[in-house]
């Protein structure tokens, strides 16, 4: 009895000690939770919140100083820029000016004018763009966070953005096309950046009457060679394929089992050309006539070989592989896909490709294995319009899953789930992949698991790395087109609604966490990357770094080297910029002089940014720590022009200015 008592007491004490031993942290956390109880409960009651609201708030709130785990790069549609958003806080971190001049960044007002001018159409500078599908550069089909590419649908251009400085470095104009939609998409190691065409037109946009649509109008897919060393598109090594004018739509480049294959959908195989006043059905009607359109399947490495073997024509000087060559070299196959589809999305393993027809409640999944087999076995008929092989539908389809009304775009996670946006249902559908994915989750393969309503009219969606070989799941952002009543009304032009969903739990638990109004553009498509894959610079590596050249400029100025030099009618002004002075602070030239102003920021502190503007010359440039910039203009009218620093930099920011004086000619 006594023994028992002793042993028992020993155990009890040991137990008490052990349990007390999550120690201080435990106690603090428990105390926190208890404190949470009363004041949090008061807030919950006052604001009429539900438990789900509270959970969502806890999942998205980012305390001051803490960073988001993921970063989303979203297009901005016809605002012509990229928007960078932290996930899960859904806070806008910044915008990146691309096609549209943006004065805060100084883009197009002093810096980047040449870059924008390089994208001119027929000699006319375009000052806006329609950005749709951003693409982060990749290695092994995964994001590497170094470069970002985005095309301009309005003028068929492509831009390269450096993710060390989050700045646009290059804009190229496609010489043969004025319309694209599938851009940008990249090959698994970013050898090429792909730009797929959209509205058919004669290549080089030469004139041809609309009645000759079938003969003269064409689509295209352009391969831009990316030189990673230089960080620029190499136009000389780029080429295009001439395609039937079927209005190609979106692109996906394969990896793994589908490495070497490129997929593109199309929406107007009806070859409809409109003509409402002539009694023809309008485009929306005519393009929706057929039950099936064609998924384009291109062995792109073979296309590269064909290009390198010189088997191309030149249109406006740009190499184009003609339809004849495509037929003879077997560079294009068609597979029927349902009803004007919008997405062609590759599953993470690279073995299935998912197509969602806008007006078909089923998504259709093709097997890469079966596509290759059908091609090898020549299991096809021939398209009577352009002679391209059409693979037999039944022999290439793996499954069809009914997901809901108006499916558009699919992305994936790491648990074998696929997520498809449902435009007509205003919802996101979660469904399961089959085959090798069947064991990754407890749900039946090839079947719908759940749908979550979104508000409203969802277009694309993005999951973390959801279009790569290694998606991470966790979060999904629904890019909804209409917000209607979700936010405080702000006039007739309303923001879009980006909604964050939690997809971390398997099964039917897929709640909406946050509604984010997007009132500065219309994001079409976005990519979400793990934040620590990005390695942006905090300041420029060396003083005098010229961003677009990627090196220190010979015209950079250091402290003590500031001067003004005259060379005939040209005046060079070498200025250092540092808190809170421009040196020199008096710049006097004569009327008619060409002024070249060299600005060097000699700051080394993170976030010590200055701006520079001269009134009346429409100049505004933002100078980051260590950066060198060059401005050039004609001092055409005598007068006194005070210049100043525009970006609040210091206590004496107001005093950071100078006088630019133009003496009269006589």
């Amino acid at each position: 009895m006594r023994t028992l008592l002793i042993i028992g007491t020993t155990f009890a004490l040991a137990g008490a000690w052990l349990s007390g031993c999550g120690g201080a942290d435990e106690t603090r956390r428990t105390a926190n939770a208890a404190a949470l109880g009363s004041s949090a409960a008061r807030i919950v009651e006052a604001r009429n919140l539900t438990p789900e609201n509270v959970e969502a708030a806890l999942k998205t709130y980012m305390p001051s100083g803490q960073h988001d785990e993921f970063v989303m790069f979203a297009s901005s549609g016809h605002a012509g820029q990229i928007i960078v958003i932290g996930i899960p806080s859904m806070r806008i971190l910044r915008t990146i000016a691309v096609y549209t001049p943006e004065s805060w960044q100084g883009w197009g007002f002093g810096m980047g004018n040449d870059v924008i001018a390089a994208g001119a159409v027929d000699g006319k500078t375009m000052t806006w763009g329609d950005t749709h599908h951003p693409a982060i550069s990749r290695r092994n089909a995964e994001y590497d966070g170094e470069w970002l590419f985005i095309a301009d649908k309005a003028h068929a251009r492509m831009a390269v953005i450096d993710l060390r400085t989050f700045q646009t470095k290059q804009i190229v104009k496609n010489p043969i096309a004025l319309s694209d939609h599938g851009g940008a998409f990249v090959t698994p190691d970013t050898e090429y950046i792909i730009q797929g065409g959209q509205y058919g037109h004669p290549l080089g946009w030469e004139y041809a009457p609309i009645e000759q649509y079938e003969e003269m109008y064409r689509g295209h897919v352009t391969f831009w060679k990316f030189d990673r060393e230089r960080g620029r598109i190499d136009i000389d090594k780029s080429f295009a394929l001439e395609l039937p004018p079927y209005w190609q739509d979106l692109v996906q480049v394969g990896w793994g089992p589908s490495d070497g294959w490129l997929f593109m959908n199309s929406i107007n195989t009806e070859l409809h050309t409109g003509g409402v006043l002539e009694g023809e059905p309008p485009f929306e009607t005519g393009v929706s006539q057929s039950d099936m359109d064609f998924m384009h399947i291109i062995p792109w490495r073979k296309a590269v070989e064909t290009f390198e073997a010189g088997k191309f024509d030149r249109i406006k000087g740009f190499p184009v592989i003609s339809l004849d060559t495509i037929r003879s070299e077997e560079l294009l196959y068609f597979a029927p896909e349902p009803k004007s589809p919008h997405g062609v999305d590759l599953a993470p393993g690279g073995e299935f490709i998912v197509v969602a027809g806008k007006l078909d409640p089923h998504v259709t999944i093709y097997s890469i294995e079966k596509l290759k087999q059908a091609i090898n076995e020549r299991n096809y008929t021939i398209d009577e319009n352009y002679g391209i092989p059409i693979l037999d539908f039944d022999s290439v389809v793996e499954a069809q899953v009914e997901v809901g009304l108006g499916p558009l775009h699919t992305q994936f996670d790491d648990k074998g789930y696929a997520y498809t946006s449902l435009f007509l249902d205003s919802a996101v559908a979660r469904w399961t992949l089959g085959g090798p994915y069947a064991d990754k989750n407890p749900d039946q393969p090839w079947s719908l698991v759940t749908t979550t309503p979104v508000h409203y009219n969802i277009g694309h969606l993005a999951t973390v790395a959801g279009d790569t070989a290694k998606p991470e799941g966790r979060y999904l952002v629904a890019l909804n087109k209409w917000s209607v009543d979700r936010f405080t009304p702000v006039g007739p032009l309303l923001p879009q609604n980006l909604q964050l969903l939690d997809i971390s739990q398997p099964g039917t638990d897929m709640p909406v966490l946050y509604d984010m109004p997007m009132g500065i553009g219309e994001p079409h498509y976005a990519q979400i990357i793990r934040a620590d894959k990005l390695k942006p610079w905090r300041v420029y590596p060396e003083i005098g770094w010229e961003a677009l050249k990627g090196a220190v400029s010979p015209n950079a100025t250091t402290r003590g080297q500031e001067r003004i030099e005259r060379d005939g009618d040209t005046v060079h002004v070498y200025t250092t910029v540092v808190r809170s002075t421009f040196r020199p602070d008096r710049v006097i030239v004569r009327e008619g002089d060409r002024v070249v102003w060299h600005l060097t920021s000699i700051e080394r502190t993170m976030d010590a940014i200055h701006g520079f503007t001269i009134p009346g010359f429409n100049i505004m440039t933002s100078i980051e720590p260590g950066e060198y910039q060059r401005l050039e203009f004609i001092a055409d009218k005598a007068g006194v022009y005070p210049f100043y620093c525009t970006e609040f930099c210091s206590a004496l920011h107001l005093e950071m200015m100078g006088y630019f004086i133009i003496e009269p000619a006589s």
Binding site: D291, M292, P336, P361, D425
Partner: protein
């Protein structure tokens, strides 16, 4: 000596027991009659042929006891012009009970074999009166149908009410009708004669002994001759029936079309024709019974490229299976076509209308290919074709029925079942949907981007795909949905309808919305919708808002009348039929179910009651009001078609009654025949034995 009262103690047969041979004959006759009666059930009882120049082989209808065969559809089609109801509606009760009747009568005959003659006679009498009874009933129905013609029918002025003769020749319009009995009726008549003979024999079997001794062979002869007579009758009628069903003369339909003048009528005789049939002239192509167009698994069935072409009565089957070639049963590419009373089976796309304004698609039966639903083609597909009449078609197991970019389309009385989209409308203005039955599809009707749609008196039942809307509305304007029965779907009506114009109002009235998972589901942005005089009955969730929020700017009452809610717990003190306090569709329960649909499992459970009680007692989590009906009705106000009741309780009652009667008769008969009797002087066997033993 009165033989009937003589007593014998020597065990010899008494006068009271029947003669053996005539008894056996009678029993045999009864048995044969019963057999004949059963066999007659599977034979046609009556046949009518309609003859007219445009039907060289005539139209025939044969009446079995349980139903009709022959050119019923074609005849119905003709009849509807004169306002006669479809033949299927005649004698429904009789047809439903006929198997029971035959069964019971045969059973009674068999029972009659073992009971005393009085009972036997009674049991056998129905069979005797059956054939004339049949003819009388037939006359009644012919009279009823012929006299009650719809005065609003197209040709009502040309044909006055009439009674087609049951037997013999008649005339209707330009048709000559020839009606007569058929095999089954002959058999029933024969059975009837046999039964009469049998009854006679039973009574004779109880006659005088001397007569009975002579009567035995006489009875035998009577029976035998009766059987022989019946056999002859049967053989004659059966042989008379096997008519000239020989092979039709070979008919080159393609040549006939080529050679025809514009506007001509071509009648295709029975036979199988190669597809595709191309109607590039404006001709009327009419099928005789048995005319089939077979595409043998490749391409389309019929392709119409000339305006005003018509296709009647064909069976079209086995098109190709290519979705991107859109292999279609009947492909109409020109306006004002008439596609009527055809049967389209094993076709990828059934009927496709492109640029085919002014066409009529009526009375066709379309059955899709046996493929996964997403792989099939559409049953009916209308694209860019205005002023269409699509009515009375039966569409089953296809993919979708699709009407796109087509205005002023009337979709009436169609049955669309077991498919994906029962109806999909897109950019179709000024259209009318009435009397359709959309059942068992993935989605009933989904209407998008269209103006001025009226949907009335449709039955929308059990559509339960992932979206599972009975009716889905997206960006519609000027919608009137009234008097429909919307039952058993996942969602009765789904509204995703921001108002397109300030003045546009959408009305939903007098619908029955019952037994759906969610009665009515709305996006919170919906406004300017009026929902009144509907009956919301036992939907698991009566009203839902997708994703939470509050509805604004909608009205749930009109002229002081709201909706009937089966879960309204109110009262009506002033007796005006309207509840005295508003019906608030909210409740903690609904909020929870909105968030966690799986909770619906616990509906009507004590757990739910507890939750509701807790909410009222401890309002920590306040429920969000969804809608409030200020004038909830005390009684259902919908005026929709009632979904048909499949089973008929009267049938079972009668069957039970009949069986009980038979059992009762048999028992009584058995007891009186075989039980111990107390007839005077008739010793029982046991008594005799005892007596023997006691000696």
């Amino acid at each position: 000596m009165n033989s009937s009262s003589r007593r014998h103690t020597d065990g010899k047969r008494t006068k009271a027991s029947p003669r053996r041979v005539p008894l056996a004959m009678a029993r045999a006759l009864f048995a044969v009659a019963a057999l004949l009666l059963i066999v007659s059930f599977f034979q046609p009882y009556w046949k009518m042929t309609l003859q007219a120049p445009q039907y060289p082989q005539g139209l025939t209808v044969q009446a079995y006891l349980h139903g009709l065969t022959g050119d019923v559809d074609e005849i119905d089609g003709l009849n509807h012009y004169i306002g006669m109801r479809p033949l299927e509606e005649a004698a429904q009760l009789e047809r439903q009970f006929s198997p029971v009747m035959i069964g019971v009568m045969s059973a009674m005959l068999l029972a009659a074999m073992f009971v005393p003659r009085v009972w036997a006679t009674l049991l056998a009498l129905p069979v005797v009166f059956f054939p004339p009874g049949f003819l009388l009933d037939l006359f009644f129905w012919l009279h009823h149908f012929g006299q009650n013609l719809d005065p609003t029918a197209a040709l009502s002025s040309s044909v006055k009410p009439f009674t087609p003769p049951v037997l013999g020749v008649g005339k209707v319009g330009n048709f000559r009708t020839v009606a007569g009995a058929d095999t089954g009726l002959y058999m029933a008549a024969a059975a009837s004669l046999l039964v009469i003979a049998g009854i006679a024999l039973r009574w004779r079997a109880h006659g005088k002994s001397a007569q009975s001794a002579a009567a035995a062979p006489a009875a035998g002869r009577l029976g035998a001759s009766a059987v022989a007579a019946c056999a002859a009758v049967i053989v004659f009628s059966v042989s008379a029936r096997t008519g000239a069903d020989g092979a039709a003369p070979r008919f080159d339909i393609h040549e006939a079309i080529r050679a025809a003048d514009e506007g001509a009528t071509i009648v295709a005789p029975s036979g199988v024709y190669d597809a595709p049939i191309i109607l590039d002239r404006s001709v009327r192509l009419i099928a005789e019974r048995g005319a089939v167009i077979d595409a043998c698994g490749r391409g389309n069935g019929v392709r119409i490229t000339a305006p005003g072409a018509e296709l009647h009565g064909f069976t079209i089957r086995n098109t190709g299976a290519s979705l991107h070639e859109e292999n279609t049963g009947v492909l109409v590419l020109a306006p004002r076509a008439v596609i009527e009373n055809n049967t389209i089976e094993n076709a990828l796309f059934g009927i496709s209308l492109k640029n085919a304004s002014g066409s009529i698609v009526r009375g066709n039966t379309i059955v899709g290919m046996d493929l996964h639903v997403a792989r099939r083609g559409d049953g009916i597909r209308a694209w860019h074709s205005n002023d269409l009449i699509i009515e009375g078609n039966t569409v089953r197991a296809v993919r979708d029925v699709v009407v796109w970019y087509s205005e002023r389309v009337a979709l009436t009385d169609n049955h669309i079942v077991d498919s994906r989209y029962g109806l999909h409308f897109m950019y179709c203005h000024d259209n009318v949907l009435t009397g359709n039955r959309l059942e068992g599809n993935s989605v009933g009707a989904f209407l998008m981007y269209s103006r001025n749609i009226m949907a009335r008196r449709n039955t929308i039942l059990n559509n339960r795909g992932p979206s599972g809307y009975g009716i889905g509305l997206k960006d519609m304007q000027g919608v009137t949905i009234e008097e429909n029965a919307i039952v058993g779907n996942r969602v009765g009506i789904y509204f995703d309808n921001p108002p397109m114009f300030e003045a546009a109002h959408d009305e939903f009235r007098a619908n029955l919305i019952a037994y759906n998972d969610v009665g009515v589901l709305l996006q919170p942005l919906v406004s300017q919708v009026a929902i009144f005089e509907n009956s919301f009955i036992e939907n698991i969730q009566q009203v839902g808002i997708r994703g939470g929020g509050e509805l604004r700017g909608n009205e749930l009452t009109r002229d002081g009348r709201g909706n009937y809610w089966s879960d309204y717990r109110g009262f009506d003190l002033d007796g005006d039929g309207v509840g005295d306090h508003p019906h608030r569709v909210e409740g903690l329960w609904d909020s929870l179910v909105d968030r966690e649909p799986a909770l619906r499992l616990f509906l009507y459970s004590p757990a739910q009651q507890a939750v509701e009680f807790a909410a009222s007692a401890f309002p920590v989590v306040r429920p969000r009001p969804i809608v409030s009906d200020g004038a909830p009705l005390m009684r259902p106000a919908h005026t929709s078609p009632t979904p048909e009741d499949e089973s008929d309780p009267r049938c079972f009652a009668l069957l039970a009654g009949a069986l009980l009667t038979i059992v009762a008769i048999t028992l009584v008969g058995a007891m009186t025949s075989f039980g111990p009797t107390r007839r005077a002087g008739r010793p029982t066997k046991s008594h005799t034995l005892k007596a023997e033993a006691s000696r």
